[in-house]
């Protein structure tokens, strides 16, 4: 065997040294990323589209036609182009329109003296019937050709199957003023003072109370509005220091439990729900509520405006501030 005189160890040392130097030099060229770019949490953002000068107290849609209540007038606009609405005309009611609902090309208007049913199949509405039934009519909801009308402390059920001849079917009286009523699947959910009532209205001529809950007992003070989704009821209320949204699970004939309370920016007066979104409107704020987890509602997007009322159609928010301001709900890339 022949001995080698070549010092392979020193060669390896030199090679390693050069490799180390190259590696050190290349370090400064590497992109060390410790954080990502910002991304939107819920993938949505609200963008202002247009502001109109006309005003109103309530807005609803029938297709692309928008109907705005303004004193005794029901204004009609074509919102085919959302940012270029076309005024078509108006319907003049006998008295100031306190509330109205739309069903089957008809609008049911509630005034201080009764109801007026208006045909809105044409671009210019025309009256079908006007019947004095009660005084100081407030809000109205329609379900199964029945209109449920609130007049301070009474809930009136009006049969409107015959548009020409609506008839008062029944009236149910409470001990306090009714703030809001919602109808869903043969049940009426009624916010009366600080109590929450559930009535069976499957047969409107026989209204059966099912359950009532004292909301202050659930730490829900000064309730002002609510909305229902699935088996959950969400109450807007306020205390001295904050406005709240409280989540309850509806359990008939059992103790209703509050699941959580969250603080909201302002006292919510109205809720509007579409298939995808829930809008909360207060004097100083209008915002979307995320109900991805029904037991943990939260605020997702704010409009930056407050208002009297509003509604959602497709991906647009129509907010009456009282001027009509339109926002688009957009998906974030």
């Amino acid at each position: 065997m022949h001995a080698k005189t070549v010092d392979s160890t020193l060669i390896a040392c030199r090679a390693s040294k050069y490799a180390a130097l190259i590696l050190l030099a290349s370090i400064s060229c590497l992109d060390f990323q410790f954080e990502s770019e910002y991304e939107d949490i819920n993938g949505l953002h609200i963008e202002h589209v247009h502001s109109y000068s006309f005003v109103g107290t309530k807005i609803l849609f029938n297709g692309s036609m928008g109907y705005i209540a303004n004193a005794e007038s029901l204004l009609v606009y074509d919102f085919t182009e959302v940012d270029a609405a076309v005024y078509l005309g108006y319907y003049a009611a006998y008295n100031s329109i306190n509330d109205f609902q739309i069903c089957d090309n008809c609008a049911v208007l509630v005034t201080d003296t009764g109801i007026e049913i208006v045909d809105i199949s044409d671009s210019l509405p025309n009256q079908l019937s006007a019947v004095p039934m009660f005084f100081f009519g407030g809000s109205v909801k329609i379900d199964n050709d029945n209109a449920y009308v609130v007049s301070p402390n009474q809930l009136h059920v009006v049969d409107i199957s015959d548009r020409q001849n609506p008839t008062l079917t029944n009236s149910y009286a409470f001990n306090d003023n009714i703030r809001q009523v919602e109808i869903d699947s043969n049940f009426a959910y009624v916010l009366v003072g600080t109590d929450f009532w559930v009535l069976n209205v499957q047969n409107p001529s026989v209204i059966i109370p099912i359950d009532s809950t004292s909301l202050p007992a659930l730490d829900i003070f000064h309730p002002e509005a609510f909305f229902k989704k699935g088996s959950f009821i969400y109450f807007a209320s306020y205390t001295t220091f904050a406005a709240w949204l409280s989540t309850c699970e509806l359990t008939l004939n059992k103790d209703t439990q509050v699941l959580n309370h969250i603080v909201v920016p302002d006292r919510v007066r109205k809720f509007h729900m579409s298939d995808e979104y829930t809008l909360a409107v207060s004097w100083y704020a209008a915002f979307l509520i995320n109900l991805r987890y029904p037991t943990s509602p939260c605020i997702s997007e704010e409009t930056g405006f407050g208002g009297i009322d509003g509604t959602i159609r497709d991906d647009y928010i129509f907010l009456l501030t009282p001027n009509l301001v339109i926002f688009e709900i957009k998906q974030v890339d």
């Binding site: 390896a12 590696l23 290349s26 990323q33 954080e35 910002y38 949490i41 987890y293 943990s296 939260c298």
Partner: protein, 704 residues
């Protein structure tokens, strides 16, 4: 074979002896025949014959199992002569004998040796990185050297160095532990079926064993881009030796100088560890100490927000031990120790509401004895100890601050101190010559717990190939005293594990283990600053591993663990999966010694992402600082974790030293593993915070 070589007079002859087939160094004998002097190669196969006289000398190189080589060296003038001598294998004919042996299978026990730790990428400076290769062990972050076992919490693991409990074995926000790897010979990691000798831990016990006392002066120095390390051993006499090790990292300084990360100072830490060994006729005495210090001053700016985290910590441990072998059958151990740690942390987030501080002081001291006596195949062991443990705490816990990356509205106020004690007895015996059985009973008087706890433990092993094992036992632990509860109860775990291990061929084995654990008296949180000591949980899983032990050039392990774990935590009163639990963990490690003195290690880890509760929206008054996050009621998982590390080293021998140049690249694919999310001021936007990016390290390690 004889060779004639002509070289210089008064020369030094050095050389490498290696296996011609395996290209592995051999610790061969080199006999200078005419001088009748024998020189022995070191572990790298290097020999040195100094001051050899002029003339022709015969060198006879021999090693068991290899054919002897004879060569002649002719020296004429002063020079240094280098030789490379390859020996060929020569089988040794011996009488055929029947060998029977006991295979030591320990349920839930995993071992790793020093050579494996040195070549594992990243583990050469952090033993806890090596532990993460073990199935059932997960970590929550590349930045925190913390580990979690089978869905358990961090405080449910105990770390012992030479059987002494170390209160602060981790370095927070660092990539290292407090231990100097050069002082670690190997470690045993006990999960689930922990022997009765060890208690006060419901998840795992990590036993680190220090290197043996050195018989000659030696040292190891290593330096790389982030850390410098020095270990030195000095034998004062045949019976007295001392070892001192120190390390300090300087990544913060280096990155700042290189301008890679502006405005961010990463943490520093500094550790000193020492040991004195005294051998007497009355046994071996040893005195050990560990002093560690760390600090962090991180100020990170994210667009319009600044997060500031400042931390300082110090820990000290000292111990005095005694080891005595009365005979082949009798063994005694005793030691006394003192350990304390201090930590202060101050964190400030983007808003004035996002602040968190922590002041933490813990102190523990005690003494314990252990005795073992063997009567034939039966072993009796008994032992006990007493001591005192105290803790004061205020603020939020450091792990919470890091993982939550946001506001923490609670403060853990604790100030408690109490004695503790324990006794245990263990008996190991064979059954029917095919089973090994170990029965243990342990009694603990845990700190702050009024009643003693009884922990029976059973292990049964079927000694064949494949072997079967079964282990069952109760484990109790002092609850984390930082959480103020009305009455402390001991954490309790009932553990059952079973499995099989099969030795496929020498040095290659496979193991499957199933386990089930039930927890009681866990800490559960219920709203801010309200905690209870009555939570429950369960964990179960299956772990598979295939391991090639270091025998020859190639060694490594592939393992897969699937686990299911749900429990209450200080943040969740409900029984839910914990944030740090990863259901699927796949580990792969391969190390090899290549031709030319190269050593290569690769490590791949694939694991489920951490669980977290995403922010789904907000609540509040609105306006700046008026928002609070609303968290999802259901946990989601971050994207899966992947990290591929590589270590390449080249051994060398120079100026009487041997060493290694190495390059370690952590996260070589630069995978952006998400640690968590930071949110903007109104919780409409979030950004991901990543774990370690690609980190190249170049270093030099020298043994002298």
């Amino acid at each position: 074979m004889t060779s004639l070589l002509f070289y210089a007079i008064y020369a030094t002859v050095t050389g490498n002896v290696y296996s011609a087939e395996l290209i592995e160094p051999l610790q061969a004998h080199v006999l200078v025949a005419d001088l009748q002097q024998v020189y022995i190669c070191d572990s790298l196969g290097v020999f040195t014959i100094p001051g050899i006289a002029p003339g022709i000398h015969q060198l006879i190189v021999s090693h068991v199992g290899f054919k002897e080589e004879t060569l002649s060296v002719a020296i004429q003038e002063p020079d240094t002569i280098h030789l490379r001598i390859g020996l060929r294998t020569m089988p040794i004919l011996i009488e055929e004998v029947e060998a029977t042996g006991d295979r030591i299978i320990t349920p839930g026990k995993r071992m790793l040796q020093k050579d494996e730790i040195e070549i594992m990428p990243g583990a050469e400076k952090n033993v806890f990185r090596a532990i993460q290769m073990i199935p059932g062990v997960s970590s929550a972050s590349d930045y925190l050297g913390l580990f979690y076992v089978r869905g358990g919490e961090l405080y449910e693991n105990k770390v012992l160095f030479d059987n002494v409990e170390i209160l602060a074995p981790y370095h927070y926000f660092g990539v290292g532990s407090t231990f100097n790897v050069d002082l670690i010979e190997d470690f045993d990691f006990l999960m689930g079926a922990i022997p009765a000798r060890y208690g006060d831990a419901v998840s795992s016990v990590l036993l680190l064993h220090s290197t043996e006392a050195s018989e000659e002066k030696s040292g190891v120095a290593s330096v790389d881009l982030i850390e410098a390390n020095l270990t030195y051993s000095y034998p004062f006499s045949e019976n007295l030796s001392a070892t001192l090790a120190a390390k300090r990292n300087y990544l913060d300084f280096l990155l700042q100088q290189m301008g890679i990360v502006e405005g961010v100072l990463l943490p520093y830490f500094f550790d000193v560890q020492g040991k004195i060994n005294i051998r007497t006729q009355l046994g071996d005495f040893f005195i050990g100490s560990l002093h560690s210090r760390e600090g962090t001053d991180i100020e990170a700016s994210f667009v319009d927000q600044t997060v500031h985290l400042k931390m300082g910590g110090m820990a000290n441990t000292g111990w005095l031990g005694w080891d005595y072998n009365g005979s082949d059958r009798l063994h005694f151990e005793a030691h006394a120790f003192y350990s304390d740690m201090d930590r202060h942390l101050d964190g400030r987030g983007p808003t004035s509401a996002d602040t968190a501080t922590e002041d933490y002081h813990a102190q523990k001291y005690g003494a314990l004895v252990h005795a073992e006596y063997k009567i034939g195949p039966i072993t009796f062991a008994l032992g006990g100890g007493i001591g005192r443990y105290g803790l004061t705490h205020s603020g939020a816990k450091i792990e919470d601050i890091f993982y939550k990356i946001g506001a923490l509205y609670y403060s853990l106020e604790a100030d408690t101190s109490d004695h503790y004690g324990f006794l245990y007895v263990v008996q190991r015996f064979p059954i029917l010559r095919v089973f090994d059985c170990e029965i243990g009973e342990r009694i603990d008087w845990l700190t702050t717990i009024n009643k003693p706890t009884l922990s029976p433990r059973l292990r049964l092993i079927y000694r064949r190939n494949p072997s079967l094992f079964l282990a069952y036992g109760y484990h109790f632990q002092t609850p984390p005293l930082e959480y103020p509860v009305r009455e402390y109860k001991p954490l309790q775990a009932r553990s059952l594990s079973m499995g099989t291990e099969y030795l496929i061929k020498p040095a290659l084995s496979t193991k499957i283990e199933l386990y089930r654990k039930n927890y009681r008296n866990l800490i559960r949180g219920y709203g801010d600053n309200v905690f209870f000591n009555d939570g429950e949980g369960q964990a179960s899983g299956i772990e598979f591993s295939l391991r090639k032990y270091q025998f020859g050039n190639l060694f490594g392990m592939i393992s897969y663990a699937y686990s299911f774990s749900e429990r209450t935590t200080p943040y969740d009163s409900a029984i839910v999966t914990t944030d740090v639990h990863r259901p699927h963990i796949l580990n792969f490690f391969l190390g090899s010694r290549l031709y030319g003195g190269f050593r290569v290690g690769v490590q791949l880890q694939l694991a489920s992402g951490l669980a977290y509760r995403p922010v789904i929206g907000r609540e509040g008054y609105g306006g700046y600082y008026g928002w609070s996050p609303v968290y999802s009621p259901e946990k989601e998982r971050l994207p899966y974790y992947q990290r591929f590390d590589i270590h390449v080293g080249k051994e060398f021998s120079l100026w009487g030293m041997r060493g290694e140049f190495y390059t370690t690249v952590l996260n070589i694919t630069n995978r952006k593993n998400i640690q968590g999310y930071l949110y903007n001021w109104d919780y409409t936007l979030r950004k991901a915070i990543y774990m370690l990016p690609l980190v190249p390290l170049v270093g030099l390690r020298a043994e002298f």
